[in-house]
Every structure is written in C-alpha cells, then in structure tokens.
Symmetry: C2
Subunit: 335 residues, 2 copies
C-alpha cells in the first residue's frame, strides 16, 4: 500500500467527482458529451435532477452524487427563502424528493441512498433540531467521507496493479482507474489497458479511453466482441470492472457485458477484480431488478438509424455477475 501523501499530486479525473452543488445550482458533468466537450449541466430543481438521471447524462457514482446533491440543492433553496419552512413541511419535502429520485430509474439502488437522508430528517425532527442545517451538514460530511474513501480505493487499485500488467476494463469506473493508472506511472509501473467500447453508449470508447489518455496511460480500444479473442491470444492478464450494485453474497450488477467478460476471464484463468460498495440490502444477484432500456438506443446511433424497418432491439442495461466469478472485490464502504 502507498504511504499517505504519496499520491497528493494525482491529477483528478473530471469523472471522479462529476456533480457538485454551488449555492442554488447543482453542476452535473454531461458525460454524454465526452470526449467532444467538457460541459457541466446546471440543475436548478428536483425535476431537472430526475431528468438528468433518466437521460443518463451521468451514471453509476455520478448518479449517487446527483441524488445526494439534489437534497442539498433543495435545502439550499429553502435556506434562501424569506420565510423558514415549518419542520413538518420540511420533512414532507425531503420525502417527496426521495420518492421522485427513487422512481427515476430501476437498477440503481436509489431507495438505499435516499433513505439515509430521510432518516437524518426524521432524526432531526425527533430531537427538536432544525431539519435544514442538520441534513445539509450531514450530507456534506457524508460526501467528504466518501471522497476520502474513494481516494483510498484508488490507492487499493494501484496496489493490485503490477508492473507489466495488461488490464481489461469495461464501461467506465468513474475516474478511479485513471487515477490509479496515474499512481502506477509515478511508481514506475509499465502497464497497458484494453478498454471495451461498451455498446450502445460507447462509455469505454468515450469515457475510459479519454480519461486514461488524459493521465498519459496506454490504452487500446477493442469491440465488445473481441474480448474472447484478446484473452485467447494472451494479451490480457487482469480484468478490473466497476459495479452499479452489490449484494450481500458478493454478486453484483454492472453494465451489460460485464457478465460475459467474467465468464471468459474464468475460462482463461484471468483474475477478475471488481470495485464494489458493499451492501447487505440485497441478498443475491437474482434479486436485483434489471432495467430494460428502449430498443431505439440500440437502433439509432449519432441520430442515424442503423436498422431499417420494424426490427426490435433488446437492451438490458445491466447484467449480474455471480460472486463465484469474482477473484477479489476492491471494496469501498459507503455507510
């Protein structure tokens, strides 16, 4: 493990912390514009937050940040209102915010996150504390803690990577892999990445290649269908992927395609690492609801229809990797 402070000059990837509240505006990195543009969407209210989530402007950890920051935004807006809102109405407002966020998309565990904030509001009420400052301070402290623990996980990832490694990754792990690559460079490790394209959104091609290149790492893009081939040719010796949701038994959900990479890694005896946020809320993978996205997301690319006629597309947004295929979970504790 690295010594403390040794990685203080690591350049932060914009994807590491893609949403932040300043005053009455929540700034959300529009990940769909990367690598063409580095642009932040200004979110002013709950409705706009839900919209940003539904349109997948941000994903995974970014979604978590948007959820937490949306409560902060709502608190800040009340703070600037001329009349203080009565406590009971404030709790109602927090619960309304939670409900709207919970209903935005099925796979991400929104209720697990929003219930934390609702509990804080209820705790404040029980203890005769003003809800707004109590919840706001809790959110800010909570996020600061997560930030520190994610930086720790970046170091854990760098520890797993050895000199000479060729690592395959899928989709995008929100800045952490690029920052770990940056640490590895400072440690003098020669490493190489294969990034899958990750159809249909091309997060691997657009985000992972972009942020790995930003830190000067070597990265080669492959189509999702070339994973078996590069493994068979001995071009990959480790797999590191993220997770959108973890189960008590070690199963996890991640971007569609992760599962087949895990099966192929096992076939070739390649160690398979996953970045997780341990949770006991869901027992096993089959309990996770899989979001089926609209077929048009497969059928249309860059505004142009790939397939003509009434062809159906089936686009499960995620798949489940059973724990038996995981060599090691590189964990973060969000609680």
């Amino acid at each position: 493990m690295m010594k403390k402070g040794e990685h203080t000059n690591i350049k932060e990837s914009p994807l590491f912390w893609p949403a932040n509240v300043k005053g009455n505006v929540l700034w959300v990195l529009d990940e769909t514009l990367i690598p063409q543009r580095l642009h932040y969407i200004k979110v002013h209210n709950l409705r706009e937050s839900v919209n940003v989530i539904r349109r997948m402007k941000t994903r995974a950890f970014g979604q978590f940040l948007v959820v937490m920051n949306t409560f902060l935004l709502e608190m800040n807006k009340v703070g600037t209102a001329q009349c203080a809102i009565p406590t009971a109405r404030m709790l109602k407002r927090v619960k309304k915010t939670a409900a709207a966020l919970n209903n935005s998309r099925p796979t991400f565990p929104f209720p697990e996150v929003t219930s934390i904030v609702v509990n804080w509001a209820e705790t404040a009420l029980k203890n005769n504390l003003e809800i707004r400052p109590f919840v706001s301070k809790n959110i800010m402290g909570y996020l600061a803690g997560i930030r520190a623990r994610r930086l720790e996980r970046v170091c854990k990832i760098a520890d797993v990577i050895r000199n000479g490694d060729s690592l395959l990754t899928h989709c995008n792990v929100s800045g952490e892999l690029a920052m770990a690559a940056s640490i590895c460079q400072q440690q003098g490790k020669e490493i190489h990445f294969f990034a899958t394209e990750t159809r249909p959104y091309f997060q691997g091609a657009k985000l992972t290649c972009w942020e790995l290149k930003r830190v000067g790492a070597k990265v080669t893009l492959i189509a999702d269908n070339a994973v078996g081939s590069v493994m068979a040719d001995g071009l990959v010796n480790k797999v590191i992927v993220g997770s959108d949701r973890s189960c008590a038994n070690g199963d996890f959900a991640n971007k569609i395609g992760t599962y087949q990479i895990a099966v192929l890694a096992e076939e070739f005896g390649i160690p398979f690492y996953v970045l997780t946020q341990p949770s006991n809320k869901v027992k096993k993978g089959s309990d996770i609801p899989i979001e089926i996205r609209k077929a048009k997301e497969l059928l249309i690319h860059s505004g142009k229809r790939i397939v003509r006629g009434p062809v159906d597309g089936f686009y499960p947004g995620f798949d489940i990797v059973p724990h038996k295929l995981v060599t090691k979970a590189i964990a973060i504790d969000v609680n």
Copy 2:
C-alpha cells in the same frame, strides 16, 4: 429433410448471390449500403474487383463469388477483343488475375479458390484446348453446382431448426439463414432469432435483421455484449453462425466475436452450429492468419470520430473457434 421442390417458392435473399457477371460487367451488391439502399456496384476490371474486396463492399461468400466472377469478367473481355489472345499469354493473364486477388486480403482463402481456375487454364493448355471458353464454361458450371449445394444447405439449416426455437446468430450468413427461416415458416415452425449487432460494421444489425425481416421472420437485435446475459436468462436455445474458413480438424475462422459466443454457448450447454465449407488445405485453426484491420474502423462511426486523441484501437477481423466447441457443422462441399 424436405422433399425436393417443396421449397421452390422460397424468396431468394439478395445476400444469397450478391455478385454476378453480365457481359463485360460484374455486378456486386454493395452490402455496406444495406439496409438504406439495395445498390449494385459495376465492376469492369481486375483493379476494381480488388478494390471492392479491400473496401469490404462484400464479405464471405460474396468475396468468393467476386473472385470467381472476376476470372469470368476477364475471359469475357478477351472474348470481345478483336484478336484472339495467344494461349500462353492467356495463361499468364489468368495467373496475374489470381495473384492480384490472392493479395487483396489475408484471412479469406483466396489462393484455394484462384488455384482452381489456374488449374483449369493449365489443363486446357496441356490438352491443346482454347483456354478462354474452357475456363469460362468450367467457372459457370462450378458456380451452378455451388448454387445448388447452397440451396441444399438452406434445407439442412431448416431441418436443424425446431418449432419453438430461439436462435442466436452473429454477423451474417449470406442469405441462407433468412431463406431457411422462410422454409420454417412454410413448415409452420414458430421461431425467433437474436441477431448480434456485430461491431464495428454492424453486419448483424444491418444485414441479418434486414434479410430476416424481409422474409417475415421474428428477429431481435442485441449488442455484442448482451450474449451472455440472454443466454443466462434462457432466451436462446441454439446458435447458428457462418464461417469464413474451415480447417481439416474442424476448427474454423469467422467474424470477430464468434469465438466468445462459442465459449458462452458451451458454458450454458447451448448447441452451437456452424455452416462450413470443408477444406483440408489448412490443418488447424492456429494456422489461419488473422487479418488485423485498421483501428480507424473502430474509432470512426458514420464518419464521426467516437474517440478523441491518439487512442489506439485493436481490431482483429476474425477469430478462431476450436472444433471442440462445435456441436455440429452444417457442411457444403465446394470441390
């Protein structure tokens, strides 16, 4: 097996016979324009033929047809010349044509095909026959035989398909699967197809979905990375793919992605069928040279760059499936 004549009203897919000589013009279906347009490229000479192959305007069986028909085109051009070409010069011309075609792309077994024509020319010379009509008649007879045997294979495919089947296919098998689906419909079999997109050219999305829909078959498009997921969910009970090159031991080469589908099919105990053209020219899969295509074919889509900056892409055009992963080869004999 179907009785003879039972499938005479099968609608032929344009992909089944995508290249044909009429007089001094070789008409080649531009598969890159499908499904937007059904357009045939006019090829007038050897240079244009090689160009059509290099630019992947046609693939697999289409390439074979282009090769054979290029000789026919060259013969026809000579036939219309005012002076008959001396026999020795004619043989030289056939060999020059063969050499140019052999050097057009590495993975497809061009020498295996062109050597057949060169042998005919040499046989004619040995037997004091005029090369031009001898070779032309042989090519036409040979192609007619292949056409009949491919129609037979279409029936064999239909035989393998059972009522209620849900079949996964990858890339495109040049009309045969669609025509088999058409037979199945007439036999009253209720079947369904999953077609993989097949990055980076989207042959599955553009060709397979298009031709299956043309015959009224049910087809659902999935991303290449969703294969493991649909198999895990029990949505597929058979895999049928084509092959670009077969080996004596039963290994075969096909579009990149075929190999990992074969591994996943075995993982789930799903029967894996491959359409082959048996050949003893190559002993085993590892003897097949794999063409590495240009990275820009991954990085640019619809003329738009997906990834910014100096990111490398690795695009092996094909991969090798070892025979142990094949449940049954549905064979055609080209010799």
